[in-house]
């Protein structure tokens, strides 16, 4: 009889543990949850990648919805790569953040007027096996969204791929997503390929990125090449007094070439040459020029007085530029 009671207790415990083990869960994970969308004349379209995952023990179906005031700013793509109102995303159980499904929402600039307002995108989930009960729960995550639309071009984050003085971004795996997405048409002319760019999700702004050769770099290089050719020519012709001025012009060219990166993203006005940059840049030039002229002392065509005069001209010109740059 005693063994019967023990057996019954065992069965009850087993039933309880099984019921607990199979308690229906619902999981929903979202990143990012706070985003700023910047739209301007230059960036009239941008996409927001949203990562979703499901750590629960039940397969889930996720669906996105947006606030009404966001409706005009979202472009629906029911046939392609971007979110469409009808889209539902099946996310299997036990998926973690690094296995997330990515959903992209495409934002477009609506008008030419300035606009700034808060809105929200919702990621809502439901289990594939519908639960039964008096209160059926729907889990939902809200993504706080702020739209910033400017009438004039906005200053955007610039990520340099070359060495340059600038603020740059480092990649953190969870904060940065490298995505394979279709081309985005910008301004009807420029095509960017997000597949070849790394999108850094800044909490304050998300902008499409554009790569290309910086024209200022080309100008700088051309100036250096042209002036180098002229230097050789004037030397051959004995027109040494022009040399200091040519050096000055070439320095300007080098300033452009070295201070402006070869490749940039989202080209804005390049950073102006700072006075301290000019000072550190011209210091070796003065030394080299001085050594160069000192070397020429021994040549009979050039007098020592003329060389000193040339050197002084260079120094005075540099000082004047430095003072002007400082004043500016």
């Amino acid at each position: 009889m005693r063994s019967v009671y023990i057996g019954l207790c065992f069965l009850i415990c087993l039933a309880l543990s099984m019921s607990l083990a199979y308690a229906q869960q619902m999981g929903i994970g979202v990143e990012p949850t706070i985003v700023d969308i910047y739209l301007s004349k230059d960036n009239d379209r941008t996409y927001l990648p949203i990562r979703v995952w499901n750590p629960s023990n039940q397969d889930m179906v996720f669906k996105l919805s947006i606030e009404e005031n966001l409706r005009d700013y979202v472009q629906y793509d029911c046939l392609g790569y971007y979110w469409c109102e009808k889209d539902e995303y099946y996310v299997p159980a036990y998926t973690e953040k690094h296995e997330a499904t990515e959903v992209s929402v495409l934002f477009v600039k609506k008008t030419d007027e300035e606009a700034e307002f808060e809105s929200a995108i919702y990621v809502q989930g439901r289990p594939t096996e519908q639960p039964e009960g008096m209160i059926i729960l729907t889990p939902r995550i809200m993504i706080r969204t702020t739209i910033h639309q400017t009438a004039t071009p906005t200053t955007t984050t610039t990520v340099y791929t070359g060495s340059a003085e600038s603020s740059s971004s480092i990649e953190i795996p969870d904060a940065t997503t490298t995505t394979t997405m279709p081309d985005v048409l910008l301004d009807g002319e420029t095509i960017i390929s997000p597949a070849t760019t790394t999108t850094t999700i800044e909490s304050e702004e998300i902008v499409p990125q554009q790569s290309g050769m910086n024209p200022f770099f080309i100008v700088g290089v051309i100036v250096i090449v042209v002036v180098s050719a002229v230097v050789i020519y004037v030397w051959k012709e004995g027109l040494l007094f022009i040399l200091p001025f040519l050096m000055f012009i070439m320095m300007s060219g080098m300033g452009y070439a070295y201070n402006v990166p070869m490749n940039v993203t989202v080209i804005e006005t390049p950073a102006p040459i700072q006075p301290y940059q000019l000072a550190t840049g011209i210091f070796p030039v003065i030394i080299i020029a001085g050594l160069f002229l000192w070397f020429l002392r021994g040549l009979e065509e050039i007098t020592f007085e003329r060389l000193v005069g040339s050197l002084l001209t260079v120094i005075i010109a540099i000082a004047l530029v430095g003072i002007l740059a400082g004043l500016i």
Partner: protein, 164 residues
């Protein structure tokens, strides 16, 4: 004189290299970590069982043991908003406002006195919850209007978690 020409070219190249070395600027680096949130509900529905009309503050079964809980994993403070639809039966309805809800880091601290009425539009149940608070317990209380028609009623409740 002709020997000087290559020297001149060398000097120009030297100048370029000198300037290049001299312009080694400080680079400021910044980054922003994205906010993310994962909510794993340990329950999908709540069953109150049979209740009498005119009864109030009917507590959800087994609530004190913490069966209605959510595990939150996030890297920022968060809040919970709740909204629902009216209770509907086969023939009759009654308002969602008869349901109240509380949320707390401890199941034992759930109290009807702290609960908030659930409405048809999102109502904040708890805000600025520290992101280390997990799991998170829910409590429900239901009033049944007097004379409410006897049948089975149900409702859909949407629980919205968001970072703040």
């Amino acid at each position: 004189m002709r020997k000087i020409v290559p020297l001149c070219v060398l000097a120009v190249v030297g100048m370029m290299l000198g300037v290049h070395i001299a312009i080694a600027d400080d680079i400021s680096m910044t980054t922003t970590v994205s906010s993310s949130i994962t909510a794993t509900f340990q329950y999908a529905s709540v069953g109150f069982g049979a209740l009498s009309d005119g009864s109030s503050n009917n507590i959800a079964p087994n609530q004190a043991t913490g069966v209605y809980n959510v595990t939150i994993a996030t890297n920022k403070e968060y809040q919970l908003d709740v909204n629902g639809t009216d209770w509907t039966g086969a023939t009759q309805n009654f308002g969602i406002g008869n349901l109240t809800m509380d949320s707390d880091a401890s199941a034992g601290s759930l109290a009807e006195g702290n609960s908030v009425v659930v409405g048809s539009t999102p109502t904040t149940i708890d805000t600025a919850i520290t992101y280390t608070v997990t799991p998170h317990y829910h409590g429900f209380w239901l009033d049944i209007p007097s004379g409410q028609y006897a049948e089975v009623y149900s409702t859909n409740v949407t629980m919205t978690y968001s970072n703040v």
